[in-house]
Symmetry: C2
DNA sequence: CGCATATAAATTGCGTACAATATCATTGCA
DNA sequence: TGCAATGATATTGTACGCAATTTATATGCG
């Protein structure tokens, strides 16, 4: 019996993975948001950046990344495209030239009114309680996953530390 | 009062969105899988393809896409990389030259034994019941989302149909 | 002050994702 | 048979997403 079993307790069955439905749901949701957001001139990650800025204008790239769990390698080009589209401004912090401050332009602020219909259209027909339940469950997982990678990652399964850090 | 309120019933608050935790969880999970899968020479989507092929070898590109909710624009280059890595074979179906059949090479089949430890390492410390609960909830949403786009999408919020389909 | 260290973004290289289009094979039907 | 319509992949172009590296600034410490 060298070949592993394909029975229902096989840990490699696609339908047993938690990661897969999350992955599929994210892809399907992105496709669902796509046509609606394109009417606002936004992509899905750009929409998330706008949500953060509409809550609190004038943030550093790092702060945006901390909120959205994205790093500068993703955010820098994305923000440049949003700047080119006239939605945000990017300028070096005068008090700390390492930082870049991102803020809304008037056009970016005004876009908010049109964006108000987005959640409305998307929720369309879904029972609110079920969505709220899903949101809470997945949010807890996000908190857990974010805690799991303190420094970077690569320490989620290492048995012994190599260099003394005590 | 032209400016919309930012109170807790503001529908645009990031923490009220269902889409965001799904997005964040997927990104964090991909980062978590990354280092583990790279030991197997796989990326995360490639791992998913392998899961499908380990369950059922010899599938068309379309069948893989239907299972993973991905289209040929994503799968074709991905499968070519996996072919170059020696994990799968791609060959035209002799009975229907439009189709491309994807099958495992011996190396691809053998990789399964090493992959068995992946779910083990990842689940590490998580209560199984909680994961199972999350999996079921998100899976239901995937089913819903997949149903919502029958032909393509673009019909999830149209108020009146233009051409009679009755 | 002078320099090692740390921090914040930007850059590079690679691998997805997806819409739109193109290519080629198959099928249906006059 | 011939050809229009359909179907299955492939290609193109744009936009992420991330690891690793680089650049520039700030800070700490002798």
């Amino acid at each position: 019996m060298l070949v592993a079993d394909r029975s229902e307790d096989d840990p490699l069955l696609l339908d047993r993975q938690v990661c897969f439905p999350l992955y599929a749901a994210t892809n399907l949701l992105t496709r669902l948001y796509g046509p609606i957001l394109s009417g606002l001139g936004l992509t899905y990650p750009q929409y998330l950046v706008m949500l953060v800025l509409w809550e609190e204008d004038l943030q550093t790239v790092g702060a945006l990344g901390a909120r959205l769990y994205l790093d500068s390698g993703t955010l820098t080009p994305l923000l440049k495209r949003m700047e080119k589209a006239g939605l945000v401004r990017r300028e070096r912090d005068q008090n700390d030239e390492r930082r870049v401050l991102v803020s809304l332009t008037p056009a970016g602020r005004n876009l908010r009114a049109r964006a108000l219909q987005v959640p409305e259209v998307l929720a369309n027909g879904y029972p609110a309680g079920e969505l709220e339940n899903l949101r809470l469950t997945v949010s807890e997982m996000v908190t857990e996953l974010a805690r799991h990678r303190v420094g970077k990652l690569s320490d989620q399964a290492l048995p012994a530390d190599k260099a003394g850090k005590a």
